[in-house]
Amino acid sequence: MKSSLRAFSFYLFLLFNTHLGASLEDYYPYQLSPSSSNYGDTGLLEMPSARFMGAGGLKFGISASWPNEYTFIVASPFPWLEAGYRYTEQKTAKYGPFAYSGNQTLKDKGFDIKIKVLEESFYLPNVAIGIRDMGGTGLFAGEYIVGSKRFGPLDLSMGIGWGLLGADNNIRNPLISLDERFQIRNSSQGAAGGGEFNVGDWFSGQRSALFGGLEYSFPKRGFNLKLEYDTSNPDMGLSGPPVDVKSRFNLGFTRPLGKFIDLGLSFERGTQVRFTFVVKGNYGEKGLVPKLETPKNVIPLSLEQKEQVALNKEILYRSLNKGLREESIYIQGATYNENRLDVVISQTKFRSYPRAAGRAARIASALSPDDVENINIFLMNGDTEVGSIKLNRNEFDKVINKKSSASELLYRSSLEGTTGIPQYKQTEFKPTVNFPEVMWSMSPALRHQIGGPEAFYLGQIWWKINSSIVFRRGLSLDTTLGIDLYNNFKDFKNASTSTLPHVRSDIQDYLSQGKNNIARMKLTYIWSPYKDLFAKLDAGILEEMFGGYGGEVYYRPFKSNFSTGLTMHKVKQRGFKQRFKFREYETVTGHLGLYYDLPQGVHAQLLIGKYLAGDKGATLDLSRRFNTGFTLGIFATKTNLSAEEFGEGSFDKGFYFAIPTDLFYISHEPGFISFGLHPLTKDGGAILKHHNSPYALFGDTSESSLLRDWRDILD
């Protein structure tokens, strides 16, 4: 009896002592983390938990069952926030009348959000508050407060749900005791047409329910077991009687397939089998594959060679030119003057300016005579200078030989903006550039419309040819042509009924008639007329739907977190075939842009001005950029159009993300996988697409950007 009591006490001790064996867990064959719920957020099955992905997490997935199937994308810009966008397919209901949407089943869009309000400690659980389907039709709207506490491999969650999550109605809404307004939940169908936040309905209604569940990890076997008490019933019975809830206990398990895929299988409501497939990744911490492209090894000059270089600078300049070219860095000018070496560089390979500067400085230091004390790297983006990094050579050499640190190097270096007169015009060595320069690339690309009434996905595989003919520094003809490889646009059959000028809503005509198109053909001139001021003039076919002429000025004080810009264009709408014909509609559009870098890589952008359809208003864009370059953002536009004039969605809003492609590569390469989603393509709040805008080219070149990437100088 005594021994069994002791054993029981020991097991209790093991269960509640979360620290014991923590180091052993690190060596289990599977490193399991809390998995996704059916809705995509980190959670149980139908029920949420207070667990989160790490900051920089992004996942896509599908959770299939009958009658509901969820397709989702969930991002975590901060460790305390998860935001998701989801399509729910109701297989028992049709999207609309047959003439409108054929046999397509109902797809309901929804935004979900979950915020951590309390961090887990030894005694207290993680606590989160969340809202499901907050901006949609409200069909799946539900709110919750949930706590999760981990005991070794066991993660217990318990919470209270409202709306859909309160369908079990096992307790009276406790918030009614605080305020009687919480009694009324106006609709389960949301605002007319959806798209508005039904704030008054949140946490309201007579129905609420306590829910709970557990997730138990088996790290030696590689799966998580989930058990929950499900208080929801997401089958509305939109067509026919709702599917019965035979059991409120759901059971399932998830298993990771490598680092990037989770599979899930569950048995829910006593009748339904559900399969979940999730592709996940964290793009905010580091590349998904190691970089093998280390700085080129340059053998320092011998004493004799150094003496020769000191006597004949041409040897130094030519060696620099050759050495830098091997790093895909192109010298634009150089001056060796007693104890100083100025090198002006331009490159597109490295996203991080300090990395390009560090690689250039390694070569410059190895090739320079001994009397060079300072190596000044002047940085250009294209043909425009953006700033300089002035390095103490001795300290730099110590750092690359691991005898000093990046911080010490920064202390002995200076970061400076432009002076107004580009350095490449003042250097002793000026490489010959033969204009016109022709650059081109081609690759397959996708164009699509997602979530339309005709079909969930209508798209095109498109062969995209980009070319740029540079006539002189800053002056180029930029062209993008598209050739159709495959499309299913023939299913388009819903012409725009917008009462506004059809500046974007004729997208179906542009896609289907412009399968082979000239997406862009414009003459651009970019220059820096004054210190910290950048400008652009452009004319021609500006984008797929508009051509015209205009310009942009952008002021970016190097030492400041604030910058501002002004764009103005006279544009005319292009023909649907996107060749050289124009339609009748023309307008003047332009915006004043205010940009501010907040802490933790958060960037705020406010655009105020006139939009393509002639409506006036403002766009607020908030994004977080991680050190890897991964960016997550949301935006919303409100103009002087009423919700009725704007149509479904009430106002323009959406989200986007950009993953640097080289996170997947072993080498450093430019480019992003970008994805942006407007749930609806509307005419209100539509902005002209700007290619190579000064803000895009020079916005991330201020002192704070160089400091953010400073450690790359060693890499």
Partner: protein, 232 residues
Amino acid sequence: MKNSHSLLTYINNFFFLLILLLLPSCASINAEKLAPSFNYAYESIKKAVFGYPDLNISRQIVEDIPYASALLKIGKGTQGLVILESIENKNYLWVSKDNVYLVIRDGRIERSLGLINNLTQITSIDQSFKSLLTKTNPVSKYYSYYSFEEPLLIDLKVSISIENKGIQEIEILGERKKLILIEESISSELIRWNEKNKFWVDPDDYFVWKSIQYISPKLPKFTIQVTKRPAT
């Protein structure tokens, strides 16, 4: 009217095709410009699946280096050369160009430094390959205790089982050798770690010329081939 419309369409299409034809002819076709992202992705996937190309290390290079050297390959990484830095109390310290240090005693890695996860110590019975191969009743099953850092784990109990697989011929940088293959099964039920180490031992002086070793559950296999053995 219809004819003029057709003519305009024809001119429009002709101009479009002309641009398409002219564009690529402006420069010679360069594979890097054809779907560059797909090329980079292909290269990365190829290396992740099939491993990274080995450095071109010849017998001549090895002979020209005045130190003892070995070829080291970690997982699918590039095979590189490690140099013997010092010998202290039968512990041989090998170092790579990128500052990975391995302490090898009697052919067995006993400590690593400079990796993302490191073996800090193996506590085990003192049994060399010489005693294993010469004793009439050598210990062939025993326990060792492995300690790691980053993350820290002390004294992981690992069961060891040793088997003599007989003579096998191998080649190291063009030199063929007939060696005894010793297979060592390592297993820790606690964390479900099961691997098989291999040692190719010289039958004359019991020197380990080649080995494939797993030193941590968090690290891939280490393949070591001695190209120039230390002076005895």
